[in-house]
């Protein structure tokens, strides 16, 4: 088991390093002129050169990469302030929003998938599949705007923005997050339900499920003890990979609902050509995704005796 974890950790570190190089190269080849963008088009070329020198962007690439990594996350050119104190709280807010979405969608998606599988081929199954598949292709901003128009503008039940006034209690915060969370839930539901359905269908057709049925166990017990345990394993993996889509969705939802998370931070950094901020955001997103998939891999192997036992030998 330890060896398995170490191996996965090593691979994750290599991929992470690859990603940091990609992000760094992106930051370099991107047609940006840091000194010029800070000082504006009217500044003297000598002043621009001086600032470039001060920022270190005129040094060799390897030196720049080393400086970037050792000073990570560095200074934002847009805010003229260290990135850490801006990125940290933004990340926390995005995690809150993302976690809220997961807390709702994971049980809902699994339930949908299981109900679908137990009614394989019947109208219920077709309906859940088609609704799920349709929902996951509707962009977040489309469902988001419809929700805003209906629930915030016309009915005035919920706020238009996602950020509660500072000092609000937990439940007020939650109320502000209800509308932004729904578009994320709609997109994720389809994926999770589809995976849970496929896993359950496969487990239902398996030999052990048949044996359990043949030895006279009631259907409910067969499903609970034998089918679900096995059908939910692949679902864990897909939930982890959906983190990527979730972060992509966060960009849109945070911009639409004016929420200061890492998504809107990335978006602003990109549109304002704030390269250090952009690099920091992108790398953070990459790390986040990798950590989640790593945890999922380990969790998967812990739950799956076949992998656990093979590793123990």
């Amino acid at each position: 088991m330890t060896r398995f974890v170490l191996k996965r950790l090593g691979l994750a570190l290599i991929t992470l390093w690859l990603l940091s190089v990609i992000v760094f190269v992106l930051g370099q080849v991107l047609p940006s002129d840091p000194g010029r963008s800070v000082l504006g088009p009217l500044a003297e070329p000598s002043a621009v050169r001086a600032l470039d020198h001060q920022l270190g962007v005129d040094k060799p690439l390897l030196t720049q990469y080393w400086n970037w990594i050792t000073n990570f996350p560095g200074t934002s050119t847009q805010y003229q302030a260290p990135i850490g104190p801006i990125l940290g709280p933004a990340l926390r807010r995005s995690l809150e929003l993302g976690l809220f979405a997961f807390v709702i969608v994971v049980p809902l998606g699994i339930l949908g998938g299981i109900v679908s599988a137990l009614n394989f081929g019947k109208p219920v199954d077709r309906t859940i599949s088609i609704v799920g598949q349709s929902a996951l292709t509707v962009p977040e901003f489309v469902s988001g705007i419809v929700l805003i128009v209906v629930f915030a503008v016309e009915l005035k039940w919920l706020p238009v923005t996602a950020t509660a006034p500072t000092g609000s209690g937990f439940f007020t915060d939650l109320k502000y997050l209800i509308l932004p969370v729904i578009p994320l839930v709609l997109v994720l539901f389809g994926y999770i339900a589809r995976m849970a359905r496929a896993g359950t269908v496969e487990a239902l057709e398996s030999d052990y499920a048949r044996t359990a049925t043949l030895k006279g166990l009631p259907r409910g017990v067969v499903i609970r003890r034998h089918v679900l345990r096995n059908s939910l394993l692949p679902t864990i993996t897909v939930i982890a990979t959906q983190t990527g889509y979730l972060i992509g969705g966060l960009v849109v939802v945070e911009v639409l609902f004016r929420y200061n998370g890492i998504g809107s931070l990335t978006y602003n950094a990109a549109t304002q050509h704030d390269i250090p901020m952009l690099e920091a955001c992108v790398l953070t997103i990459g790390v986040l995704y990798m950590v989640v998939t790593l945890i999922a891999d380990i969790g998967f192997s812990l739950l799956n005796p076949r992998i656990r036992l093979r590793a123990a030998e």
Binding site: S32, P139, F141, V146, V149, G244, T266, M290
Partner: protein, 294 residues
């Protein structure tokens, strides 16, 4: 090696067999309600995209500052926006850009992905490992984030959107094709072709490719829906299609403030247009998957 090296008779026989299978699949598709509904909606949007400016009752760009923010009525079915432009006409003509960009991006990704997937699956070993690592690193970033970075830095043009989405789809499609090729390459017909002395290129593209066209077609339709999703999202973020195009995503972004002030028709019809388009593509995709699985 090329298709010209195949004896003419056997080329004809192969083609005939495949045409029959294709005709059978098409017949089954035409009996599927899901497919028919999806295809009907999609056809309507394609007609709008091609003949939009003829169908539209007004010019989508014509401003009328005396009739701004008008609610839907007989004269303006979907109302007017803050510049008095007819929303009905804008929704109709707005289908054009998305129906050009998204399919082109998907075709690019599918062609490149198929080639790489064939190579990865057929040669396995080192090529597969190296390409696999790159796929991993690529997948750590969400498509929308990649798109935002690329468009913000390389400039906002439709060509950049097509290339970025196509390139991001490439490894995803390659992975699917690779998995299908891994199964195919163990089959007798591949061994037979090898014994006949056929070259790798010939085996990959003439022998294996037609037999993995099912998964490729499914992948194409799934990706197409996702490309539409992404292009519209980028337009909404102001990074995709640029004004004054009546693009749906762009219109929603610019009319968002008006909608919050109560002029809901300025975003709702665009939202419905997007929803019907993406749903029609996923219905078609769903139907094709259903037919191929049977």
């Amino acid at each position: 090696m090329s298709i010209a090296d195949v004896p003419v008779e056997s080329r004809g026989a192969l083609a005939a067999g495949r045409t029959e299978v294709r005709r059978e699949l098409l017949r089954e598709l035409l009996h599927s309600k899901t497919f028919l509904v999806g295809a009907t909606i999609l056809s309507i949007w394609i007609i709008c995209a091609i003949f939009g400016s003829v169908i539209a009752p007004h010019s989508p760009y014509a401003q009328n500052l005396e009739g701004i923010n008008q609610a839907p009525s007989g004269a303006h079915l979907f109302g007017t926006d803050e510049l008095g432009r007819d929303m009905f006409s804008r929704v109709i003509v707005g289908s054009r850009d998305i129906l050009i960009i998204a399919p082109l991006a998907t075709v690019l990704g599918t062609v490149l992905g198929t080639i790489i997937g064939l190579v990865m699956g057929y040669f396995r070993g080192l090529v597969d490992d190296v390409l696999g690592r790159f796929v991993e690193a690529f997948l750590a970033l969400p498509l929308v984030v990649t798109g935002v970075i690329a468009l913000a830095t390389l400039g906002r043009s439709n060509l950049v959107i097509i290339i970025v989405i196509g390139l991001v789809f490439t490894p995803l499609i390659a992975r699917t094709v690779r998995a299908a090729v891994l199964l195919e390459r163990e089959l007798d017909y591949v061994a037979a072709a090898r014994l006949r002395g056929e070259g790798s290129l010939y085996i990959m593209f003439v022998e294996i490719l037609p037999n993995v066209s099912g998964p490729i077609l499914v992948e194409f339709t799934v990706r197409l829906a996702y490309a539409i999703f992404t292009v519209l999202t980028l337009s909404f973020l102001g990074l995709g299609v640029q004004p004054p195009s009546p693009d749906w995503g762009l219109d929603i972004a610019s009319n968002y403030g008006q909608a919050a002030a109560g002029f809901w028709w300025e975003v709702l019809f665009d939202a419905l247009a997007i929803a019907t388009l993406v749903v029609s593509v996923s219905l078609i995709s769903d139907a094709i998957q259903g037919v191929l699985e049977r």
